[in-house]
């Protein structure tokens, strides 16, 4: 139950991160479906996922200032 609350809380708190992960998944699935090679699709998936973390961090830094 607590784990479920954490997941719901995560989606609510980190919309940019969760949205970025969802976007990366959609793109990776599309690449897999059209038959892009594993190495290319894997690298792109990895980079897109880190991009989601990056955007989420930048958003937080900009919203809360230099801390």
């Amino acid at each position: 139950m607590r784990a479920l609350k954490v997941i719901i809380g995560l989606i609510y708190d980190d919309k940019w991160l969760v949205g970025g992960i969802a976007g990366a998944i959609i793109i990776a699935k599309s690449l897999a479906v059209i038959g892009v090679s594993g190495a290319v699709a894997g690298i792109l998936f990895m980079v897109l996922l880190f991009g989601a973390v990056l955007i989420s961090v930048v958003r937080e830094v900009r919203t809360k200032g230099t801390g």
């Binding site: 991160l17 998944i25 690449l31 998936f45 880190f50 937080e60 830094v61």
Partner: protein, 250 residues
Amino acid sequence: MNWYVAGASFLGTAVEFVEALTIVLAVLLTKGWRTSLAGASLAVVVLAALVLILGYPLVHIVQLGIVQFVVGLLMLLFGMRWLRKAILRYSGHKAVHDEAKAFARELERQRKSGAGGVGIDGFGALTAFNGVLLEGLESVFIVITVGLSAGALPSAVAGSLVAFVLVVLAGVAFKRPLQTVPENTLKFVVGVMLSAFGTFWAGEGLGIAWWNQDLSIVIVMAFYLTASLLFVSYLRATRRSAVADSVHSA
């Protein structure tokens, strides 16, 4: 005893057990042994029940791709959240977790909860459960396919059991030195590790054929660690220049 089958099963399942051990150790070091063992034990029970009830047809009934995607997605959600927090902490945009204060608070919480307090963290237990269940399922698949294709299932089971015992012994040996790593550093590394496992499994579930299969996890880990450290240095530099600008203008 068919030694080729035992050897193949040993090597194949050892890789899966090491991956499961990595996650169990990560949860153990950050959330405590009760949480870690509760999740891992539950996964072993579920796995044993699946094998006993379904038997050999398990390989055809369980859609490994779906399990990989769901487990990978959960690992990604938790791992990337930790990684994000670690980047903010290390770049000075979030207060560094005071380990001594947190330890004192945890002791106080346990004291208040009394002897009846179980002290199991739901998220940590779920993470350990997912990791052990998925890796366990993959190990069962390896044993069944290798064992049945060569007509030597007992040899495949024996090879897998030896791998299991050796990996558990390695885990016991590594636990103590890992406990000396500072908590903040540990959380950073665990965030990177969970994100890497999540990326690999979710990717496999989506149909990505990773380069050199499980070896890709190490590459993904190295990428996340390097990229995170570079990003931390960039954020530190911009923070320093922002502080210097505000001092000059004051």
